[in-house]
């Protein structure tokens, strides 16, 4: 978990205005110049920050009413016990997507990711437009990827060589992603099989849960978001080299 500390309300707002993204913000009620409540109100006015979870630390008891307006996710009384903070954070973050993707513009990308975190990637995608988009982005991140156009080709490719991750389009001809995933899990045991990342253009609510329930390890939506793809790759642990 990465944390960034700010000593005042003004400094906090400066950091947030710079575009830095956070999964949660912890604030102190009693700060000089700008108190926690005022700061929370200012944070809520910033674009894209109207729903970021805010955790308030206070040495006073809760005051009902005012606090609710800024929509705090949790109140903790100082001195804060580490276990209470952990509980609050895990409860709050478990309810939210890990990467906050609000605007398509300017997702941070890392051209050296492939060097720092080398992976053997198989892209299972029959659609030429998506193939080009994915292969080009992966290349810019420092990855060379192989392409398979359907589930049968995926199985063939996996028999030929080891891949650390398969980006698996769920709607392919011949053998679709769902069937391919089941086959892969049948043939290769855990620890020997690549991480399976579902890719789908179905923006239906609950898709992610659906694919995880089907036994896929992760899910990214299409059109591809650079930050989302990067996260999925970073969370992939390479298999041992044989």
């Amino acid at each position: 978990m990465k944390t960034l500390a700010a000593a005042s309300g003004a400094e906090t707002l400066d950091i947030l205005r710079s575009g830095e993204k956070f999964d949660a913000i912890i604030l102190d009620m009693q700060m000089p110049e700008m108190d926690g409540l005022t700061l929370a109100g200012e944070i809520r006015k910033l674009p894209l920050l109207d729903s970021v979870p805010l955790i308030m630390l206070t040495s006073m008891g809760r005051r009902s009413g005012v606090e609710e307006e800024a929509g705090f996710a949790a109140f903790l009384t100082k001195p804060v016990k580490p276990s209470h903070l952990l509980d609050a954070l895990s409860t709050i973050l478990a309810d939210r997507p890990r990467v906050i993707l609000q605007k398509p513009e300017a997702p941070a990308f890392d051209s050296a990711l492939g060097e720092r975190h080398p992976l053997r990637i198989l892209l299972a995608e029959d659609n030429v437009v998506n193939q080009k988009v994915a292969v080009s982005i992966l290349k810019r991140m420092g990855y060379r990827s192989d392409v398979a156009a359907n589930g049968l080709e995926v199985l063939e490719a996996l028999r030929r060589q080891t891949y650390d991750v398969v980006l698996l389009d769920m709607q392919m001809p011949e053998m679709d992603g769902e069937v391919a995933a089941q086959q892969i899990k049948k043939i290769w045991p855990q620890g020997k099989r690549p991480r399976l990342v579902a890719m789908t253009a179905n923006a239906l609510e609950g898709d992610r849960e659906r694919y995880l329930a089907l036994g896929l390890d992760d899910y990214v939506s299409k059109p591809i978001h650079v930050a989302e793809l990067k996260r999925a790759l970073e969370e992939t642990q390479p298999l041992p080299k044989n």
């Binding site: 398509p104 513009e105 300017a106 997702p107 990308f109 051209s111 659609n127 030429v128 437009v129 998506n130 080009k132 988009v133 080009s136 982005i137 810019r140 991140m141 709607q171 001809p173 253009a201 299409k222 059109p223 978001h225 650079v226």
Partner: protein
């Protein structure tokens, strides 16, 4: 690229869709965007054909898949109206009730002509 062409009920092309890749593509961004548009423009008529063929041959699986791919690719290039039309067609195909679907396919073809005009370099 023409910017945000608007007509009637909505945007023909939302340029922010492909522009979102500009940062990651760096100095290759222009050629990347041109290549994706070119591939899309060549591929979409094949998909529209496959949809018509699928309907004519009563091959609903192929019909749905072509609509799905058209939806996905149209979203990639920012052809929002066409993407949602294709999504509707795909959904109706999946529901099994093909009543009036020919009309929607014809609408998709008309919309593609607008998309083509907006995207052509």
């Amino acid at each position: 690229l023409k910017l945000d062409e608007k007509q009637g009920d909505g945007m023909i092309i939302d340029t922010s869709a492909l522009e979102a890749y500009r940062e990651v593509m760096g100095e290759e961004a222009d050629s990347f965007i041109a290549d994706i548009i070119d591939t899309y423009l060549k591929n979409a008529p094949l998909l529209l054909n496959a949809m018509q063929e699928g309907l004519a041959q009563n091959d609903i699986k192929s019909f749905i898949r072509a609509a799905h791919t058209l939806k996905s690719n149209s979203a990639t290039v920012g052809a929002r109206a066409l993407a949602s039309l294709a999504a509707e067609i795909e959904g109706q195909g999946n529901s099994g009730d093909l009543n009036g679907i020919n009309v929607k396919v014809a609408q998709a073809m008309e919309e593609f002509i607008r998309v083509q005009a907006a995207l052509k370099p």
